[in-house]
């Protein structure tokens, strides 16, 4: 058997000799493989690919996906149960408003009136609360963690000390420092925003804590680097 004939049959060979190729053909391939390191190597590689394909890492979609799914389902249920026809296109504006709520377990979704109230409440909080893209939290600063005020006071103190020295830094150092801080602050806003929606969400609590630690670390670095 020629190399290229063997190589062309390798997948059939690997996927089940009794199914796709005859015993006789399988034997011919095996004989060739024992004598041809190139084809043998080829077989090993294809087999590795086949095996690795079964063990690929899973990808994680953004967390917001569940929110969108839940919104649409909720809207569909509401549409079925109540006269709120406009709630049907939940993926649009309504979806955004409803994304203010995180998980929702509404065992008795059937009550159309109750759903109507919920939607209105959500709409109002959606209009007046932070939503859609901007996620601006400056101003909204109720403590979301029991120790948050303490953390903030500590950061404030460190930040003041750094700010006092910042004037002496060169422009690049200042810009980089600001960039790092801003990036962490943005994440912090986002996580606080999510935590605000669902104040007992332990995961978001942990994320928020980690981000505060990150900020403190940056400020500590500055002290250790004697800037």
């Amino acid at each position: 058997m020629e190399c290229h004939a063997v190589i062309n049959s390798l997948s059939d060979y690997l996927d089940g000799q009794n199914v796709w190729i005859s015993d006789d053909e399988a034997k011919q391939i095996e004989t060739h493989l024992t004598n041809c390191p190139t084809c043998q190597n080829f077989k090993l590689e294809l087999n590795e690919i086949k095996i690795a394909a079964r063990e690929l890492p899973l990808h994680t979609p953004p967390r917001a996906m569940w929110t969108r799914i839940a919104n649409q389902i909720e809207a569909e249920i509401a549409a079925e149960n109540g006269p709120l026809r406009h709630a049907q296109n939940a993926s649009g504006w309504w979806g955004w408003l409803r994304s203010r709520r995180f998980t929702f377990s509404l065992p008795q979704l059937a009550g159309g009136a109750a759903v109507a109230v919920a939607l209105i409440v959500a709409a109002i909080s959606g209009i007046f609360g932070p939503h859609s893209g901007t996620l601006n939290l400056s101003g909204v600063q109720t403590a979301l963690l029991p120790e948050e005020d303490e953390i903030k006071a500590d950061l404030e103190r460190r930040l003041n000390a750094v700010n006092a020295r910042k004037a002496q830094w060169d422009a690049q150092r200042r810009a980089e420092f600001e960039q790092h801080m801003t990036r962490i602050d943005e994440s912090l806003k986002r996580c606080r925003y999510m935590l605000g929606d669902n104040p007992k969400d332990a995961i978001q609590q942990q994320m928020v804590r980690a981000l505060y630690t990150e900020k403190r670390q940056l400020l500590e670095d500055v002290e250790r680097l004697r800037w």
């Binding site: 997948s11 979609p61 998980t103 377990s105 995961i203």
Partner: protein, 209 residues
């Protein structure tokens, strides 16, 4: 409506002991918490499957989202005759294929280059270098496959469907499914070797004609 408290229960705090079937039954009765648990258990698989088939994160997100919404609508019809995961994967695959059809993605794409040339090229450069398939590299290589190869490879090798099922889902012959799979693996091998070569700067270029 006072849903506080229940609202805050993280999806993971639900009884982990409930089987998928029990959860589908509860979801069928409109229990969103049960459905959320199903989501928690399966969303990564569904999303990964969509992502691997379409090789585009935004599209995959949209598709996975639609799959779960469809799942919620259909969940009452799940009778527990097959494994739930199998059922859900079928649902996902069908949804993605439907999407392909709408977009006019042709699955029966034949090879652009002759493989014989590729093989000969390989024969000359083959060294018994020790290597293993890095799963992340493979994942990336899959996304670089032409759509036709990619679909068959994902369905057969990643998701574990048989050729008969793949052929049935794609509306092609078993022979086509088999040959596309082989070509997909060959192309992946090539893509992976290219990556390894780039990394280790082997003497391949030297020995090449």
């Amino acid at each position: 409506m006072t849903t506080d408290g229940m609202n805050n229960a993280a999806p993971t705090s639900l009884p982990a002991s409930l089987s998928d079937y029990e959860l589908t039954q509860a979801s069928g009765r409109g229990d969103m918490k049960a459905f959320e648990t199903i989501y928690e258990r399966h969303h990564r698989r569904v999303y990964s499957l969509c992502l691997r088939m379409v090789a585009n994160a935004t599209e995959a997100e949209d598709l996975a989202q639609e799959v779960f919404i469809q799942l919620f609508r259909k969940i009452g019809s799940f009778r527990g005759e097959s494994a739930f995961t199998t059922w859900l994967h079928r649902l996902t695959v069908n949804h993605v294929l439907m999407h392909f059809r709408k977009r006019g993605v042709r699955l029966e794409k034949t090879t652009e280059e002759g493989e014989i040339g590729e093989i000969q090229d390989y024969l000359q450069s083959a060294a018994d270098r020790p290597r293993f398939v890095d799963r992340i590299a493979l994942d990336k290589a899959i996304s670089e496959l032409p759509p036709g190869y990619r679909t068959v490879f994902v369905l057969h090798d990643v998701e574990g469907f048989e050729h008969e099922e793949v052929a049935d889902m794609l509306g092609v012959s078993v022979g086509t499914s088999k040959s596309q799979l082989h070509k997909a693996r060959m192309r992946l091998r090539e893509l992976l070797n290219k990556k390894t070569d780039k990394k280790t700067e082997t003497k391949k270029t030297e020995s090449k004609k």
